[in-house]
Symmetry: C2
Subunit: 448 residues, 2 copies
Amino acid sequence: MVDKEMPSAHPVPVDDLTPLAQRAGARRCGGAPEGVAFVDGGGVTSARGFAAAGVHAGFRKNPERFDLALVAADEPCACAGTFTQNVFCAAPVTVSREHLDGVSYGIARAVVVNSGIANAATGERGLEAAREMARIAADAVGCPEQEVMVASTGVIGEHLPLDPFRTGVPAALEKLSREGGHDAARAIMTTDTHPKEAAATFSGDGVGYDGCTFTVGGMAKGSGMIMPNMATMISVITTDAPLSADALHTALVEAVNGSFNRVTVDSDTSTNDTCLMFASGAAAPAGAAPFAVGTPAYEAFLATLKAVCVNLARQMASDGEGATRLVTVNVTGAASAADADAAARTVANSPLVKTAVTGHDANWGRIAAAIGRSGAAFRQQDAAIDIMGLPVCRGGLTVPFDEDEALRRFEQDEIVLDIDLGAGDAAATMWTCDFSHDYITINGDYRT
Amino acid sequence: MVDKEMPSAHPVPVDDLTPLAQRAGARRCGGAPEGVAFVDGGGVTSARGFAAAGVHAGFRKNPERFDLALVAADEPCACAGTFTQNVFCAAPVTVSREHLDGVSYGIARAVVVNSGIANAATGERGLEAAREMARIAADAVGCPEQEVMVASTGVIGEHLPLDPFRTGVPAALEKLSREGGHDAARAIMTTDTHPKEAAATFSGDGVGYDGCTFTVGGMAKGSGMIMPNMATMISVITTDAPLSADALHTALVEAVNGSFNRVTVDSDTSTNDTCLMFASGAAAPAGAAPFAVGTPAYEAFLATLKAVCVNLARQMASDGEGATRLVTVNVTGAASAADADAAARTVANSPLVKTAVTGHDANWGRIAAAIGRSGAAFRQQDAAIDIMGLPVCRGGLTVPFDEDEALRRFEQDEIVLDIDLGAGDAAATMWTCDFSHDYITINGDYRT
């Protein structure tokens, strides 16, 4: 028996049943923009000037499992980072920030990442461990410790042992190679079911760097805790385009805001979230000027960086704990960008929407209730909703739809929810996953 | 294998392991305040001057299940209401607001509630149905239609049939009695597993009404969708104390803010949320002055009303879909009331915290991450956390605790999380439930 809020079909007079995705001005995300070419099997070492390795250092008990990643540039290069804003930020976040803001502002040579222990909620002793972790890597690579970035992911509240670095970093240095990106991507995984890598290229032709092909590549771990607020996300991205640290930071912030920060709400605020980017300039002729913000070359780079970040973010969302589906929430017609963001986040974080996707339930009442309480300004009689391209709500009222067709469309790997608020021109997209029994099993198991 | 953010014990120097609940100034909620006596088996008809009934009218298919409740006052009396702020507000909410704000401002005689169909997202036709629902009840009770309040809960987007009111309201009128409160409480249930009722009395002695005993009683349905944002909550509360509509409204707003609005975030913003209160004055001598806001009599009334609302709110939280535990989140030491509220809501809405409770996992790292991203101002080195009275975090660091003892304490029906931010004197409490496999089953089942 139908026993609670759930829309049922009743005919309403509707003029326009065009799917929202086909309306003029509808914004779509996810594909590669013109001029950006993804690299099959690409990753953090696709860009020239970088090498990487992943090894088992001993943070985890399973000797088959890599738990230490090292990514190193051939030469000191421009570096930028974005970090968690959580009050409970972890020691490696504090230390990486110090290094980036310190004497070697914006210049770095390497990043070392361990998985298994987050070095969070560990006080002064944790800070000292993070600094020692950087020193060990700096000694191995042969650079000042301020040129080494650090990141950790894993258990909160446990102290980070240093011996695994003392043996693991030299082992990683030994393995360091242009092919080592895949091992590094494996080494930073926690509950991820697979490594997340992406790379893409763009041409310098016509943007002042004729004959050059530039690459942006990266790796990410994440989605262990992709539910609202705690995707402990770590990403390392490299490019062989020439950029100053300042320009790199400007581009990274914009790209992260449009990708990793759009994977459910507050994914940017776990204890350990870190996104680091390095630019070697190795694909530019010696002495070439770095890309200045706003130039055609910079814009081409930014579009490629965004495409790589969105690709990694979508991989994170679809690999959420217990996820069976990637869920993309597109909001259009909002009165402001903030309203579009609020509506999309509220839908993407609604457990009722996420369980409806698991249940293949085209229950637009749950979506309506979510946008209605999101704080976004609109009138219910102007709202329209599509589920997987099927119009289910127009003018705030139910549109009859073919339930069998809806069930068929729910078989896709990606579930797209389109919402038009009919209140303006602003738009936003969020990525999330559904909410399955496995999520409860993974997160609700007895700790014993 | 421990594979993600989870605190592990390591000794840290800590001076004060007093449980937070025992610290001076710690605020506890839930118990009856001094002078308030709960009435065993009390409900919406415990106060004098009211009668109620619940019947099967035909909104649901199961003939054994009540689906129409009528609560009527013997005489027109003071009435106040609080309603959802969701943009997608349902037709009965619009109509009840119109009636309360209209010509009969603050005076009402009855409320009629149906379950099964929410009359939400139904446009103009829904508004007309809600008005007709009021007219049918007004004709039966013998009062102007503006003196009838209406509420609905159930399916969104389906039109409300009127025939069940035409037969059901007369049937309810026939059964109307002082004992009918329990049937009415059953009639408004949706996925609730049991009816929710509470009543309490306070004495007029010493507050200007010597010899009088006043009663506040109510019923509620709710927790079908108690997860963030959609507890479609309906409550009807009555009292035989004498109050003006304005004073009643002032008291109701304060009581609802401290109770129903503290059952997870946005529980006040579903499409149909409605809380109505009636004051008959029947327990005061004829001609007695109504309680004026701020007088001792008003304060005694307010304390009793709050106790009844908190009792109903806790019943709603513990009956959340698939809930195995009531979870109470107490935040103290916040820099402001807004910070306390933000921290408590963020913890109460964290799927990771809720699944940890299901799993009996004293995982304070998840609580720390939630308060850290809540926006509340504090320093991690000042934060303290207790789980079921066991200190697990002091000074932002892990405190060793007895894991077996923690597991034993998790067997209780109510799980209490105490958090002190160490940043000020403000406090807040939120009630929620855990997040179990049954929640996914209930909300994720195929709609077919």
